[in-house]
């Protein structure tokens, strides 16, 4: 989610929601009567694509915030390189010193950026937006899998969770049996 809900392509969060829900409303069809099955699917797919559009808009806004910070650090690094580097490049040593100055300046600027709380926040939001896009695409794919009568990712996920818990249960049972066995052996 973009910071303070103010920078979503120049729109507020509320404006953005209204813009996307407008399309959802337009595509609504009667959900009773003979159109029921058709309208249910159309509406569901329409919602998925509207959601995808919305999260991509948010990704774009967060990406802009990210590149703004990166470009600021880049500009600072270039400026400092110019200040630190030899003014004339006439010998091999000059080129070498230029390289060292550039590496130092870029290292300082970008390390300071990456270690800043501001970057951490922006990077966290960008990463979250990327995940939202992945989720929106996954939701569409899941629907298609269901339509083909194939197991979906979330269904497989539930099974994996059960298997992991079962494995832990078996491990604990095995351990408690071993302890009891050892105790019985010690007693005899």
């Amino acid at each position: 989610m973009a910071e303070n809900n103010k920078d979503l392509l120049g729109l507020t969060q509320e404006q953005m929601d209204k813009m996307f829900s407008f399309w959802t409303d337009v595509m609504k069809l009667p959900t009773i009567g003979p159109m029921y099955a058709f309208s249910k699917d159309v509406s569901s797919y329409a919602n998925d694509f509207v959601t995808l559009g919305k999260v991509m808009a948010e990704l774009k806004a967060n990406m802009d915030g990210y590149w703004l910070l990166v470009n600021t650090a880049y500009t600072r690094a270039i400026k400092e390189t110019m200040e630190r580097a030899p003014k004339q490049l006439t010998s091999r040593d000059d080129f070498e010193n230029y390289r060292r100055a550039a590496i130092e300046a870029f290292e300082d600027a970008f390390t300071e950026l990456f270690a800043s709380p501001e970057f951490s926040g922006v990077y966290g939001r960008l990463f979250s937006s990327q995940l939202d896009v992945s989720k929106a695409v996954q939701d569409i794919a899941e629907k298609n899998f269901k339509a083909l009568n194939l197991p979906t990712r979330s269904e497989v996920d539930d099974i994996l969770k059960d298997v992991a818990e079962l494995k832990r249960g078996v491990r604990d049972l095995k351990r408690s049996l071993e302890i009891k066995y050892d105790q019985a052996r010690a007693a005899t």
């Binding site: 091999r92 390289r99 590496i103 870029f106 290292e107 970008f110 390390t111 990456f114 270690a115 800043s116 709380p117 970057f119 951490s120 926040g121 990077y123 966290g124 939001r125 990463f127 979250s128 995940l131 992945s134 989720k135 996954q138 996920d157 994996l160 969770k161 298997v163 992991a164 818990e165 494995k167 832990r168 491990r171």
Partner: protein
């Protein structure tokens, strides 16, 4: 410091050639410089393209046990055994364990063997999508515990030295709080302990990561995400400059060999099991539960004050992955009376895989371990 003594994670500065008498020194022309640089670039390109399999982890060993999650390695003795207590090395879940045996003259494992220790190592296998729900509880109470039992059975002793690196050090510490009866000594290298005191870029990025969303949507942490984090660590001094240095030193076979081995390790990054990563970032980095004694593995609470065994905590002053301020507090929270903090002026990888470590770190570590391994 000579070129060969530089740490692998340190910028490999090129030493200037010895000063030549002025009359004998002929400055190359610009055309000659360009030609020479072009030749070096071509050679670097060919070497990188033909690099293929780089030999690492060459110290002779047998695979004692192999499961879906790990391989338990037992290294062949190099000298007569001088310490009764075996050492089980617990590697991290980040990158691969062969960094502890990268090349013969910089091998942590080989040095311990040459000091007469019996060395075992847990080589974690990359998790698959099916391992999304594998947690620290599984790693600590199942996998590490199984390995400990196997080593104890094989060596016919009742306790061993648990020796962890980085995330493996944190897991070794967790294990010791729960299964202390099987641990004679706990020797940890750069453990992640008090993350509120961590000053690294990794710690900063972790603070705002929506880890629950990531695990729910993606599952295991993909390698690409780890690369993104690595690229933020010393991005130019190491990320860019090292390639300049490679081209400049392309005719130095030893330099190129060292470079390729480290480069192979840096980019040999398996994913991390989703649930484990959720706990690592959410519970340890964001909530700092580990040092507060509030972290739970399954139904068991990790209480660091339960640790009473001898503790050796090895940290690096220039560690930019786990800052020493994050590792050092372990010594303050355990109940051990025999505890030592060793600080070395090096980096995270330099601590374990460098000539500096061979000459300065390992003799002291070996001495400490030997005194407590009879």
């Amino acid at each position: 410091m000579t070129k060969q003594e530089l740490r692998p994670d340190q910028t490999q500065e090129v030493q200037p050639p010895a000063e030549q008498p002025k009359e004998a020194k002929k400055e190359p022309t610009v055309a000659e410089e360009v030609k020479e640089t072009y030749r070096k670039l071509e050679k670097a390109k060919n070497i990188l393209h033909a690099a293929g399999d780089i030999e690492v982890g060459q110290t002779p060993h047998e695979v004692l046990e192999e499961t879906r999650a790990y391989r338990l390695l037992h290294y062949q003795q190099m000298v007569a055994k001088t310490a009764k207590t075996p050492i089980l090395v617990v590697y991290a879940l980040i990158n691969r364990s062969y960094v502890l045996d990268l090349q013969s003259d910089k091998s942590w494992v080989r040095s311990l063997l040459s000091q007469g220790f019996d060395v075992y190592l847990i080589d974690w296998k990359p998790p698959t999508a099916a391992d999304k729900y594998v947690s620290f509880d599984d790693y600590v109470n199942c996998y590490i515990d199984d390995c400990v039992n196997t080593v104890l059975k094989k060596t016919k002793v009742d306790k061993l030295t648990l020796h962890g690196y980085c995330m493996g050090a944190t897991m070794s510490t967790m294990y010791t709080t729960l299964h202390q009866e099987k641990v004679r000594n706990l020797a940890v290298i750069a453990p992640v302990v008090d993350t509120e005191k961590d000053t690294t870029v990794i710690g900063n990025l972790a603070k705002n990561m929506d880890v629950n969303k990531m695990v729910n949507i993606i599952g295991n942490l993909p390698a690409e995400q780890l690369y993104a984090c690595y690229s933020a660590l010393k991005p130019f001094k190491q990320g860019v400059n090292k390639y300049f240095n490679l081209v400049q030193n392309i005719d130095n076979d030893q330099f190129v060999g060292n470079f390729l081995r480290i480069e192979k390790w840096l980019y040999d990054t398996p994913p991390i099991a989703g649930e484990t990563f959720r706990q690592w970032i959410g519970d340890i980095y964001q909530k700092n539960l580990f040092v507060k004694n509030e972290l739970k593995l399954g139904s068991e609470l990790i209480d660091l004050s339960r640790i009473k065994v001898p503790l050796l905590n090895i940290v690096a002053d220039e560690d930019h992955l786990v800052s020493p301020q994050c590792s050092a507090p372990l010594n303050d929270v355990v109940s051990s009376t025999d505890k030592r903090l060793m600080r070395f002026h090096t980096g995270h990888v330099g601590l374990i895989a460098s000539l500096y470590s061979q000459n300065n770190v390992l003799p002291k570590v070996g001495q400490w371990l030997k005194a407590r391994s009879q």
